[in-house]
Symmetry: C3
Subunit: 157 residues, 3 copies
């Protein structure tokens, strides 16, 4: 989705358009330094059963957000408030340019301490399969390393 | 207060000019990358009962500072030492330009995980009142959201 | 050591050239945004008994790396994978320009929450002695401050 810069009315709308498990992926143009999302919206999203928030702008109430089960990936923290412009145009459930990545509704959003990735929906099955295979392979490699083998031989470098 | 860049003699002086509860708000010009404040000064400030430190430069002993009860808001961590220039000019208890914000002695300094704000002294009563009202209002809103109401109706968006 | 940008083959080699206790200090040119080091390599380095990693590029598996006993100092986190270029030139156990600091094999590498320093090998004994003296001195100063003395007198400012 796209939220007009400095405005979070479309984010409120999106919370109720989204289905349980959905992750909101939000572009805000260049207007990063606003607190687009805080305790109230996090609570609303959690009640709705949303899966998380990924936003190319800042959020506020950082200490409180960390206590919610809902994962939030944001550019940073900013206390500056947003307005409510009823005439501003945003969009929900359309492709969104997030930094230099086009994210489309239905793409699989996966994040951890390293960051977030968007996996195109049509490749999700393939990527999950490859990831699971890699995890199995790496678990076996870790076991061999712990027994004293070297990565140079394990990988045949 | 203002500390000459790369020097922390005025910070030592300020610790003993300040009264218990006072928060030191320190500009350092463009000389951010020095460790202006560390374990010794934090201990001294705590013994004096100061309320905290907000500095537009770096501090050192980051791991240790976090163990003190005294809150420290700084630009970052830097181990580079400061000098003691007995001829350098600083000032204490005069207005200070902190980034683009003029902070005056007696302004109310409030910070949390999101950052720090300076509230002009003459508006402190009004702002605290408004903040408390907002907190009461938001607590009620959070309760309504948890019972299934939507922000769209709660706020009449 | 130097690792060719976007490649971590030399890092694998270095793990097995290094001796137990050695800290790998790695320059990567300007190619910071790769995940040069992750769970597999951290495990291999720990099995080898290495002392740590200091790299002027990014690493991946950030959440997992924090669980290892091996300290990792990196520029940041990046999930972007590295390649294996068998023709690329790196070097191990030669002086390396790390940012603007020349680090030589055998230099003493010491880090904590504030950052990392490299102490030239020929000055290590002198620096450790001075550091220990300072620690003794500061412990005594902290005790005096807690008893109410002021830094102004303690340091004779």
């Amino acid at each position: 989705m796209h939220s007009p810069g400095g405005d979070n009315l479309w984010l409120h709308r999106a919370i109720y358009v989204a289905q349980p498990g959905d992750v909101l992926v939000v572009s805000v143009g260049d207007a990063h330094d606003f607190g687009y999302w805080g305790e109230i919206m996090c609570c609303a999203a959690q009640v709705r059963g949303l899966g998380g928030l990924v936003i190319d702008g800042c959020v506020r109430d950082g200490g409180v957000l960390a206590e919610f089960a809902l994962p939030v990936f944001a550019r940073g923290l900013c206390i500056r408030g947003t307005g409510k412009d009823y005439g501003a145009r945003g969009w929900i459930n359309y492709p969104t340019l997030f930094c230099d990545l086009l994210v489309r509704p239905g793409d699989l959003i996966v994040g951890d301490a390293d960051g977030v990735v968007a996996i195109p929906r049509e490749r999700a099955h393939e990527v999950i399969g490859a990831a699971q295979q890699r995890q199995v392979k790496e678990t076996a490699i870790l076991a061999r390393l712990r027994q004293g083998e070297r990565t140079l031989e394990v990988y045949n470098f």
